[in-house]
Amino acid sequence: MQTHAPPGAGSTPDRTGALPAESARRIYRDMLTARLLDTEAIALQRQGVFPAYVSLRGQEAAQVASAAALDRDRDFAFPTYREMAVALTLGVDMVGYLASHRALWHGGRYDPIASRFGSINAVVGGPVPHAVGWALGERLRGETGCAIAYFGDGASSQGDVHEALNFAGVFGSPVVFFCQNNRWALSVPNERQIAGGSIAARAAGYGMPGITVDGNDAAAVHNATRSALDRARSGGGPTLIEALTYRLAPHSTSDDTTRYRDRGEEHAWQERDPLPRLGTALEEAGHADTAFFEQIEDGARAAVERIRDGIATAPPPAGSDLFTYVYREPTEELARQQRLWREEVEP
């Protein structure tokens, strides 16, 4: 069984030069901002502000470069719990996003419909069929939006992911299935997860193209996603993209990677960190200089600071929020229970 090793010297060269300079610079900016925000979020967890956090360190290229290919006016992204950099790229209110990690509201405290980025979803594989429904709805209305479903290598084992891929294949729905294969599903490696060794290869069984990309190569990710979106938008149906990447951090702040993987592997992937890789490629292509990097870093730091301040002052949810959103049309019984809460519990 062949699963992905860190792409080494023999792998395809970065094609960053193939990206328009402006796109490459914007992707770099968002990747750097995501990296700094991710680092800040881990610090906030250490300080006790966040009960827990799930880092995406190492997956910035996969997330930002794919999300940057979306049309923010037309498309819709369905995330799991690790797509912070997708949210950032799509312009989601990040204080609202991180409200989930601050444990203020499970799904985050942003409007998923207006943001075109679904609520944070902790059911592995669960949101993938929603992308198919959303995309089908778009086509039924004669509109041109596409859905992108993010999921992990672990999620690829879920029946819902199979059902979603098959539905999309049968309906020809405009969906991009974007699997970030970060090699580990918590403690379980690809070898124990993926029969056959490739998630992308399964696409053939659903009658759609399956693309494997170096998920740490921003240009490759961006171009693959863009082609898949173009194809979907023009009526060509769904595509499955498997972006080979690596989770450099533990699964979550509660995880201990020493129990299941060795440092050597982490170090090897550290060498392929997508962020400096894109930086170098930008420089070599003549798209960036020292002044650019300084300016970008200043901007990213300022953005992170604003978000951190926002988190610090984010109000706790109102107690009545327990009841407010259960139904669109509340029941008398729930109103009774809310009165009970007011009388017996409300501080």
Binding site: D111, N121, V123, L140, A147, E163, V170
Partner: protein, 348 residues
């Protein structure tokens, strides 16, 4: 479909009184919904060309086209997941799960996704989904085709659950469910699909609230009586009506309360009936332990304890898997068992 128009222009708003089976009434409600609201979609396994295994969706694809009424691959979780995504994109899905026992593969999408997406998104994503679920037993069906899942779904925050007992309610309650902006599990009593009765078809009503008076959650007195209240839903309502007829021959006057909504439960309606009759027997097909009868019994006890002349009785299925044909009549609450429970409550 053959329908006998037994009266014209009767009822408000030009509503017509038409005799039809429950299966036809559900078909008519779907037809009305598809006609009045272009955002409605009907889909599921075999609902298109075939018209559903019970022919409930017969003719709808021909009338509304393959975009509005369509077959999906055979995967229940995918069907409900599809509905969730469609709802997030502004549609009003009416998925069918072919049989009760095959709702289990969709439980994750129903419970973890559909039921709480509105909550998770703080009201941004509403889920106006009606999951049609042919339910309950009584037709000597194969395994997994006679299950009663109401207690499971009634337990889930964010869901509403309803089970009609006759064609008129089937029509009315389905339109009410579809027009509601919350997710509803609509349980169709298979054993009553061919029951033929009069249905008040509403004319051009479009307002969600305007579905014939009763709000979501309202029960119905199927037969007024003085000596005890039989509480039931779905096909058991008719069994209780039969029990009431038999009891009447012995001078016992039973009230039959058709609960209709299993979430929210009409606590006021229950309390009003039982405080008058002072005795209650709850009848359901589902197994006893942690069945909805326990909830009904508790609600009665909490609300009208001092009016009760006897403990609330439960007549239910046994705590066994739903059995095959020959044992079905011994599993489902029999007329004799209900009469015995009535006797126990009267003699207490």
């Amino acid at each position: 479909m053959t329908e006998a128009l037994v009266g014209e222009g009767r009822g408000a708003n030009g509503a017509a009184l038409v005799e039809m089976t429950m299966q036809q009434a559900i078909n008519r409600a779907l037809d009305t919904a598809l006609r009045e609201d272009p955002a409605t979609l009907v889909f599921g396994e075999d609902v298109g060309r075939l018209g559903g295994v019970f022919r409930v969706t017969d003719g709808l694809q021909a009338a509304y086209g393959q975009n509005r009424v369509f077959d999906t691959p055979l995967a229940e979780s995918g069907i409900v997941g599809l509905a969730v995504g469609l709802a997030m994109n502004g549609w009003r899905p009416i998925p069918e799960l072919q049989f009760d026992g095959f709702a289990y593969p969709a439980v994750d999408q129903i419970v973890n996704q559909m039921a709480r997406m509105h909550y998770r998104s703080r009201g941004a994503a509403s889920m106006p989904i009606t999951v049609r679920l042919p339910s309950f037993g009584g037709i000597q069906a194969p395994e997994h085709h006679g299950e009663s899942l109401e207690a499971l779904f009634a337990h889930v925050p964010g869901l509403k659950v309803v089970a009609p007992s006759d064609p008129n309610d089937a029509y009315r309650l389905l339109l009410q469910s579809i027009r509601s902006d919350d997710p509803v599990i609509y349980m169709e009593p298979k054993a009553r699909y061919w029951d033929r009765r009069q249905v008040v078809l509403d004319g051009a009503r479009a307002q969600a609230a305007d579905t014939g008076g009763d709000p979501i959650g309202a029960s119905r007195i199927a037969r007024p009586g003085r000596h005890a209240t039989l509480v039931a839903w779905g096909a058991m309502v008719h069994r209780c009506l039969r029990v009431a007829e038999l009891a009447a021959e012995d001078g016992v006057d039973l009230e039959v309360l058709d609960l209709r909504w299993l979430k929210p439960i009409d606590t006021d309606g229950l309390a009003a009936s039982v405080s008058r009759t002072r005795r209650a027997v709850v009848v359901h097909e589902a197994p006893l332990t942690a069945g909805l009868g326990a909830e009904v019994s508790s609600l009665i006890t909490e609300r009208v304890f001092c009016d009760l002349a006897a403990p609330v009785q439960r007549v239910t299925g046994f705590d066994v898997p739903y059995p095959a044909g020959p044992l079905e009549p011994q599993y489902l609450p029999t007329i004799d068992r209900i009469l015995l429970a009535v006797q126990r409550t009267l003699e207490f």
